[in-house]
Subunit: 385 residues, 2 copies
């Protein structure tokens, strides 16, 4: 009787996993000794299966071949140890890898994750070090007229300590939301590891939702608002050029954090950084509120004035005011093959022409999370010192 | 120039969303006036597309029909307002709905979410009420010899209050992990809503990972452990009958929570409940540690002794000890079509025979999250009164 129960429970669990009784379990992805990777999908009725992922710049996908056991396979690599995301494309429809139960999300990108152990993943991994806490926190936003959700990382020991901490405000890109820097960005583990190594100061990291018309990530959105959003097109430029995000951050988010956490509430202990759209918002916010942030990081984003209603003259006037406020660090990072690379060169050129102090870090690669995780791991150690 | 940039950014975002340039956007799922729902998938090269989901007990799936625009469609319903999850099956491979960016996860079940507004979803929805905070917290577990992750819900106002709170420990089922009660269970929003309505007392809810050999959810597992797990079969009975979970909870988790949160640390303010495997663990823990929990909830789980190495006599002896400790509530809930229903009847029979006080709540339906969300919404109001 006992075994009957266990078996029936397990059968129930297993049969339901992929919603079909006859799925054959295959190992996928399989990482080989030399860091080559074999991807596999059991798909007896499919006529074409492709692999697409951040392991390659080729978005047309890699054709997978069916073996004698109805398993489509492809081998890639050796791959550089790092974190990648991928999907299969089955007869034209994108699917997750049913062999892999780790899924990451950046907005509407919902993909299977592959981590190949090495130096970089050591930085993102859940290592045997003290871990901070990641909290989903709701706060009142008067500027945007709604209650909004942000993610708050408090460093190891925060709960028991009486200390106050500096704060890094960290912004995601277009299409993303407040969960992106955690799910794709591994920001909490990067901070855990840097703090444990003594490379970064213990700090609070606050990740707001950068879409001015949204309250929160899709699954956490009030149903009334969500049903409206379902009908609207995604990625509208409204979010991109949303005029109120800087005001919302400075007048609502920062005061909320400083009233509810033990925070060193001054410019020297306040940083702002963001990637892509978040880099635009970082430039705009620090230009509009020049005395607010002591440390500024712009990742993979060119001249912000190109997106808004600003002339070059206005931009230069704002930069002069920011220069006067004398931020301790203005850091710009971009990859050489980033599609916004030319815009970043224009930004650097303007800053050079106007004598605006900054540091430019140029990396390999493009507009990718591989770069943004790397940039965070380089930026955080420069803060609050 | 400005518009060129915006367009190139948007094009980049849109093209990447489903990893292919030519995906046609369709509205899916579309909820009609009468709560019928149309599901759609653009799949020009597929030869068969089926819909599978918790809207129906039929796991073979509902055949979808291709229209003249290469979109597979099917209409279901009218459906009862509630939360459902579903996937498409494209030529034998399970896929998410690319038209729907809300994905929920319960262990390896990664599925698209559908919410049809109504009384029940009102209970799970992000309503205009004060929201608690959900935190992912790591704690040392000496019993299991690892650092483990749990989710902690602190009620609205916790941060600013000086009060101490009662705690509900809430356990997931087989195959799940510490994220399941949040992702599929909506436990935090259920509590927000019950507290706002004055139906439940403000309480802390702690959701540990119930798999004794795991540290944390798959995406949050240290890579060294994860790579080992990838090679092992999932759903092994080891997790199910793992002997050390009760000890881990009582000797490690509870002391950690009581040392790090403002908690009323006594039996009258401590509850334990769980579903399926978590119902087994709830029975086992409260039987082994009879004076620890004042409130006990067993959801969708029969006689626990059937799974472990306990004779009926041992079980009865444990029950006598538990009876002596006089818990304020022992609540059992099960659906009439649950595949464990007979085992629950045996449990009730044993409790009736031995005169062990309990309340039995029998619902419609089966071994489903629809029931477990409902049970939580009924159980929480009975606590700490």
């Amino acid at each position: 009787m006992k075994h009957l129960y266990i078996l029936s429970l397990l059968a129930f669990v297993c049969c339901q996993v992929y919603g079909q009784p006859a799925t054959k379990r295959v190992v996928s992805p399989e990482i080989l000794e030399d860091n080559s990777v074999i991807f596999r999908l059991y798909a007896p009725n499919a006529s074409s299966v492709k692999l697409r992922g951040t392991m390659s710049d080729d978005y047309s996908g890699l054709e997978m071949k069916k073996n004698s056991e109805d398993v489509y396979e492809v081998r890639m690599g050796p791959l550089k140890p790092d974190m990648y995301v991928y999907t299969f494309n089955v007869d034209g429809v994108s699917t997750l890898d049913p062999g892999n139960n780790v899924v990451v999300r950046d907005g509407s990108y919902i993909e299977s994750r592959l981590m190949i152990p090495g130096e970089l993943t050591g930085l993102y991994d859940v290592n045997d070090v003290p871990h901070g806490t990641v909290s989903a926190v709701w706060y009142p936003d008067k500027t945007l007229g709604m209650t909004r959700r942000c993610m708050v990382y408090t460093p190891p020991g925060y709960n028991k300590s009486k200390e106050s901490y500096p704060v890094l405000y960290l912004l995601h890109g277009a299409g993303g939301d407040e969960e992106a820097w955690v799910s794709r960005g591994r920001a909490n583990y990067i901070l855990d590891n840097l703090i444990a190594q003594g490379k970064a100061k213990p700090m609070i990291v606050v990740i707001p939702n950068g879409n001015g018309s949204a309250t929160s990530a899709p699954g956490e959105t009030p149903l009334s608002l969500r049903l409206r959003q379902d009908r609207a097109a995604m990625g509208s430029p409204g979010a991109m050029t949303g005029e109120k995000m800087p005001e919302s951050m400075v007048k609502d988010l920062i005061p909320f954090i400083e009233a509810n956490y033990r925070v060193k509430a001054n410019r020297e202990n306040r940083a702002l950084a963001g990637l892509s759209m978040g880099g635009y918002q970082t430039q705009k916010t620090t230009n509009l509120y020049p005395g607010t942030f002591g440390y500024i990081g712009v990742m993979s984003m060119g001249l912000y004035a190109q997106f808004g209603n600003y002339s070059k003259e206005e931009h230069i006037a704002q930069l002069k005011a920011l220069e006067k406020a004398n931020p301790k660090l203005y850091w710009i990072a971009c990859g050489k093959t980033d599609f916004l690379y030319q815009g970043v060169l224009e930004l650097i050129k303007l800053y050079d022409e106007t004598g605006f102090k900054h540091i430019y870090r140029e990396s390999e690669g493009g507009h990718t999370w591989n770069n943004w995780r790397l940039y965070l791991s380089e930026f955080a150690p420069m803060l609050f010192k």
